[in-house]
């Protein structure tokens, strides 16, 4: 990195520009919850450091080369009746220079690149294993350490590395939480891995990044980074063999019956610890307390939930959630009341929705 300091003397102006750019990027995090430029995890931070190295060089090269181009265009503008300019055919010295200088810059980019490739390749020890299963078009998460399953809303503890084991039951997807890490593709018949440690509590968006069919665009999920105590509380509540849900009001009781008569329970279970076999839809444990529904795409309001229950194909055409039996507006209200009651613990979002 010593050579870099030689160059940086030349580019004080650029330094200021870069600083401005980075500042702008950081300031943007609230407006851009899915941004890659404001990492909140170690993996994403290492990636961002490499990225910023390339940005600095790119801006320097951009200014120098485009500057030379624009200068030449204005400086050497001619008129048709001007005498023929000197017929120069080339310069060996220049060819060597402009081969060597980019080569040196590339070495300066390659060194941190390779260092980070190897640094991110190894999962740190004592990591919490989470198995991620991609489905067309939603996400399933298993915690083998706790024996619990959830969907579309992933909880991770702040400060403990999570070791993700990725696989797919159908086509290729890509698991991506920009604030915490880069992407890792999710394959059928092949396990891939990625890891990160969340450093800040909050509710962040993630999204499938590999085209996977008609609803690739709405295959999102939420990732809740919980303070360790909140995380443990969530795990404990989810682990209870039978989820203690008190269904008090009559609307919710009606909803419970509709959940059976409308055949919802053919695909969905509320049991995070030992769901019955054959549940092909997302596990709904704690659905009442989730921040988003419909694979991380709709805010979990009563209105959105009713809309989703009544007409999943209207919002997500081609989704595998096809209603076997039509649901009326009133029935939807009852189902919403029932689903809303499915809260295994107090809402776990400490830092609020980001």
């Amino acid at each position: 990195m010593r050579l870099w300091s030689v160059h940086s003397g030349r580019g004080l102006r650029l330094g200021a520009m870069v600083a401005l750019l980075s500042l702008a990027a950081l300031g943007c995090a609230d407006n851009y919850p899915q941004t890659t430029l404001s990492p909140e995890g170690d993996f994403a931070r290492m990636v961002d450091d490499v990225f910023m190295v390339t940005v600095r060089w790119a801006i320097l090269v951009f200014v120098v080369v485009e500057g030379a181009l624009v200068y030449a265009i204005f400086r050497f503008r001619g008129r048709p009746d001007d005498p023929e300019p000197k017929q120069v055919h080339g310069s060996t010295v220049l060819e060597i220079v402009w081969t060597a200088v980019p080569a040196i810059i590339l070495v300066l980019i390659a060194v941190p690149t390779i260092r980070t490739i190897f640094a991110t390749a190894e999962t740190p020890p004592n990591a919490l294993v989470v198995e991620v299963v991609g489905h067309q078009w939603w996400w399933e998460f298993h915690y083998p350490e706790y024996g619990i399953t959830t969907a579309n809303q992933l909880h991770v503890p702040v400060g403990r590395t999570v070791d993700f084991r990725l696989s797919s039951v159908d086509v290729i997807h890509s698991f991506w939480v920009p604030r915490f890490a880069g992407k890792r593709d999710v394959f059928p018949g092949r396990e891939t891995r990625i890891w990160f440690t969340a450093e800040v509590a909050g509710d962040f968006p993630g999204q499938c990044a590999e085209f996977c069919g008609i609803q690739h665009g709405r295959m999102g999920f939420r990732i809740l980074a919980d303070d360790p105590a909140d995380f443990d509380a969530w795990v404990a509540a989810m682990s209870a063999a039978t989820v203690a849900v008190t269904v008090e009001d009559s609307l919710a009781v009606a909803g419970e019956q509709l959940f059976a008569t409308k055949a919802c329970l053919g695909c969905h279970s509320f049991n995070a610890a030992s769901p019955p076999p054959g549940m092909i839809g997302p596990n709904l444990a704690n659905i009442g307390a989730r921040t988003y529904i419909a694979a991380g795409m709709l805010e979990n309001t009563d209105e959105n939930m009713a809309r989703w229950i009544r007409d999943p194909q209207g919002y997500k055409e081609g989704s595998l959630m096809v209603l076997p039996i039509e649901v009326s507006e009133a029935e939807a209200q009852a189902l919403v009341a029932y689903l809303r009651a499915q809260q295994v613990s107090a809402p776990t979002v400490a830092a609020g929705v980001r």
């Binding site: 851009y32 290492m46 990044a209 085209f211």
Partner: protein, 619 residues
Amino acid sequence: MATSAVEHAPPQITSDAKTGLWSWLTTVDHKRIGIMYGVSAFVFFMIGGLEALLLRIQLGSPDSTFLSPDAYNQLFTMHGTTMIFLGVMPLSAMFFNYLIPLQIGARDVVFPRLNAFSFWVFLIGGLVLNASFIFGAAPNAGWFGYANLTSVQYSPGPNTDFWVIGLQILGIASLAAAVNFFVTIINMRAPGMRLLRMPMFCWMSMITQILLLLAFPVITVALVFLMVDRYFGATFFEVAANGDPMLWQHLFWIFGHPEVYILILPPFGIVSEILPVFSRKPLFGYAAMVFSGAFIAVLGFGVWSHHMFATGMGPIADASFGVLTMLIAIPTGVKIFNWIGTIWGGSIQMKTPMYFSLGFIAMFIIGGLSGIMHAAVPADLQQTDTYFIVAHFHYVLFGGAVFAIMAGTYYWTPKMFGFMLSERIGKFQFWLMFIGFNLTFFPMHFLGLHGMPRRVYTYPEGLGFEFWNQVETAGSFVLGASFLVLIWNIVVSKRSGVPAPADPWNGATLEWSIPSPPQEFNFPEVPEVESRDALWAMKRAKGGTLPEPPRVDGSHIHLPNPSVKPLITAIGIGVFFTGFLLGAVWPMPSVTTINLPIILLGLAITAYGIFSWAFEPAE
């Protein structure tokens, strides 16, 4: 064959069918074939552009329902497939066809009928692909068609069959043309035109043909695998049967990365012709330009996995492919510096072709720099499959290739059609395109870095994607309008424009030594070449200018006969593949007693075409 025949051939009256539809259907004249490539590619290019505008309308607002999700997926798949295979590649083929024989001082390509065959097969392939729209079943699995999404299970409709069959047809056209142009450049150069005296466009074209010859067989193998999987239940990519979707990715990108250079090297050649002429100064570092082009081509076969960093190949593979990818920046940089070296110290004449060429350099630099960002593998893990990548490749393929093709269009239209395009409208078009292009594609850098994935048919509110998407959509319409200005320019200039002299730009290469447009035989006498920039040397030897070359009676010049056999053979291939397509509908792709006869009929027509072609007198 045409050129070598001239010295000893007896005078012969060439075919009199020089006008009318039949003359176009049977032509073997490289110039007419070039024009047909240009016109059809431009039509396909406009279709691809319209598709892009529909995509942009959909993305102009969050949660838009302007397009259905499947319509969006069909349109983005067809936009990519069209722009690559039916737009930019055949626009380059237009220049190969029209210019290579003229620049090397030849009467035609080495296999004129094969050349016609290439064009007809290309046209049929393009029509087959676009016919899918009629059935509402355009390909919808992306231009990269990743397995196992393309399996019958996950893509049951005929959409993917249109894609797999259309691309196979187009591959035949590309391979036949590549053989033709490679052999033409090797064998048909005028006396004295040694390889290192060739115009740079011919050099970049020759390297492109080598890339085509090596890359297209790979995609063909992959497509045949996929077709056999779909039609005959093979399991190359079927996980449940121990097939592997990763196999597709490797095969596709071993083709796909060289394909990028297939798209960009001819434009490199085009601007390398234009910059010296409008700087009145030879190309700076000719040999460095040749070797950097060759080096890019070689490296192009060693970097395919940089499209796959997110697949988790492991640190050794990631580091190797990352570093190899970075290496490409070196020869690419050499080219950019030599272009700047070419205009440096020149007497720059700001004509429209020069505007587009300089715009090309300026935009290509940006695309090159973001390319280095992807080569930094960890950074790519964030960038891949986001709009940052979409920004990158549009800066190289639109800011690069399409700007250069526009430069070439303004530069060579006088030669091809005998009239000058309006400079005033041309410069207006340039600025419209330059502004529209940057409005459309520069904000994609921001969106990608802020986490907007590619290939999503919509995005929710609240992720901060609204503003830049609106700007891009507005920009895309400015960009689209710039092509209407081009059409306007062509119409206006054709009607009332200035007739083009043989050499309107003080050109350096042989095509400017003959009348505009050239006569069918190109050169009344085969030129003798003594140096690079052959025409400049000839003009210098005569004190600066040459007299306007007269149109001469070429009836004594022996030219290949027109032939309908290439068209028949191409139709046979079209029927053969259409037969498969007819079996692509419900319940699953198959060959049955209904479509087998059509497949066999196609084979029979193809066989008839080839045999009658073989026994038809060529001259």
